[in-house]
Amino acid sequence: MSGLLFLALLDGLVYGSLLFLVAVGLTMVYGVLRILNIAHGSFYALGAYVGVVLGLFVTQTLGNPWLSYPALLLAAVLVGGVLGPLVERFVLRWAYARPEVLQLLITFSLFLILEDVQKLVFGVQPYFLDAPFQLLGSAELGGVPYARYQLVLVLVALGVLLGLRFLLRGTPLGKILVAVVADREMAQALGVNAGRVYLLAFSLGVGLAALGGALASPTVTIAPGLGAEVIVLSFAVVAVGGLGQIEGAAIGALLIGLGRSLAVYLVPELDVVVPYLVMVLVLLVRPVGLLGTVEVRRI
């Protein structure tokens, strides 16, 4: 296998890992709350901004660049822990009973609001934080230097995937989440406090998006418009994998990540188009996504 192709595949794996981190929260929120959160990308962006700000603070003001790693994690926790409950309680709570279109518009409005909030709080200038990236240096892979940070991203994504699987299958909270996804009325009849479940699930989703943003921040320039780009990529991943399917998000992210990297390698002009082409192709063949479930109406 040529070195370039190997690199392309590796890049695809890394990119896919990032996509997974963002998209898994979106698909999980849909699975539990049945709402497709258009503002999901905004939480990613906020995670990135807060991560960069905290990272720069520890690097420059505190002088210890190694603290930037926990800083990034802290950013995710802050965004997820603060914004998650706030948004769920004060915005989403009123969306649950409404028709799907209005739910989409509510989250779209949230997106619009958060876009400007980002500009107002952080300004429009670009931010860079490369300490976390540089500190880990590079490793020799197949004779080619490759940034260790990006390999760490893959490990984190894997960790999140396994962690979520364990959460959903092995813990009481997880089982409650699964029950709510499978049959909401039954779960409520059995005494599950839907309100608290939704709050937790949504906050977790937001936290995961913010984690994705925070961890991605050392690899990209943070500027307005980040959220808008990311959300459509997340939709592509989630649609390909199947709404509400965590493993589906992993598969979708991998397909799209690899697809895009191979495009960069083979047909560079089409690299931006690939995610949407993959989405279109998968949905044309299997409308509910690769691992999605079909609902047939009983009459």
Binding site: V101, L104, S109, A228, F235, Y276, M279
Partner: protein
């Protein structure tokens, strides 16, 4: 709806006369009409229970069709707009043949995907499309006359208004035909329609193609009015704006989206001018307030009780 239509007529007449005194309003109103047309297409689909988050595809296609054409052939505005419509109808037919199989969130996302493919192509192929810089659209002739920019802007508004009124009248009639009523029935019981022998997919395809034509007309209009076309016209956020406008203007069937578009453009223009980074915040907040606090009446398109001009009264 008698009292309502009279009021509407009054408002429309006042608005139509304003640009004669404030030419810059003509520009704002023309953009409102352009987006209103696209939003009308969305509203039609919404009536059938379908949301598209990808009509930026047609809006952008109409705009770029005009821009490309003017690069080689100096067609008159009327022909350019016709060309824009035909572009939308053709693309809508192609896409619709696939899309009419889907419903709900999948329909929304597939439309999104198609539009993002188009956006990506527009942004990437710099040498053909001008990339993210876009293409300049020189001022074409209007009905054979070469006009200076300001006069052209005013005349364009009145042309657009005329087109909108004609289309609006035609669509109002369309919605009262069996096909139009079947569209509304689609939202509540597609299975029943199938069992009545009605080809649901064909109905959806027809309405989809109409909506694509409306959006592309809007795009062509916007392109000519602004004098510049950019890939953002096909971006998902633009598509979202059309849905936003359609819902904002909810009431009253066909006129609704235009009221919504007017409100939208006015908020956007003024917020942009006076409160730099807050126009999106304002729009988002407005929509949330409208959704949460306006009584059921505004959401006649969406599952709350419908007022179709005839209040259902028991004998």
């Amino acid at each position: 709806m008698r009292q309502g239509s009279l009021l509407l007529l009054l408002i429309a007449t006042v608005l139509a006369l304003l640009p004669l005194f404030f030419p810059w309003l003509g520009f704002v109103f023309t953009l409102a009409l352009a987006k209103g047309l696209a939003a009308l297409g969305i509203a039609l689909l919404l009536r059938g229970g379908l949301v598209s988050f990808g009509h930026g595809l047609y809006f952008g296609a109409g705009a770029y069709a005009v821009a490309f054409t003017l690069r080689s052939v100096p067609l008159d505005t009327v022909w350019l707009l016709l060309l824009a419509v035909l572009t939308g109808l053709a693309l809508g037919l192609l896409a619709g043949l696939f899309l009419s199989r889907y419903r709900g969130i999948f329909f929304a996302m597939l439309n999104l995907a198609f539009s993002m493919v188009f956006y990506a192509l527009l942004a990437k192929f710099y040498h053909v499309t001008g990339g993210t810089d876009g293409i300049r659209v020189p001022t074409p002739t209007l009905l054979g006359l070469t006009l200076d920019r300001t006069l052209f802007g005013e005349a364009l508004f009145y042309l657009a208004l005329l087109l909108t009124l004609l289309l609006g009248w035609g669509l109002t009639r369309f919605l009262r035909t069996p096909v139009g009523e079947a569209l509304a029935a689609l939202r509540t019981n597609e299975v029943r329609l199938e069992y009545l022998g009605i080809p649901v997919r064909r109905v959806i395809l027809l309405v989809y193609v109409i909506s694509a034509g409306l959006a592309s007309l809007g795009g062509g209009l916007a392109g000519v009015a602004v004098g510049h076309v950019v890939p953002e016209l096909a971006f998902w956020v633009t598509s979202g704006e059309f849905v936003y406008i359609a819902i904002l203007g909810g009431i009253g069937g066909v006129p609704g989206p235009f009221l919504g578009a007017l409100a939208y453009e006015l908020i956007r223009t003024f917020a942009f001018k006076y409160l730099a980074f807050t126009w999106q915040l304002l729009l988002g907040a407005t929509m949330l307030l409208v959704i949460f606090f306006l009584p059921g009446g505004l959401w006649t398109l969406l599952g709350e009780r419908r007022l179709r001009g005839r209040r259902a009264t028991a004998p």
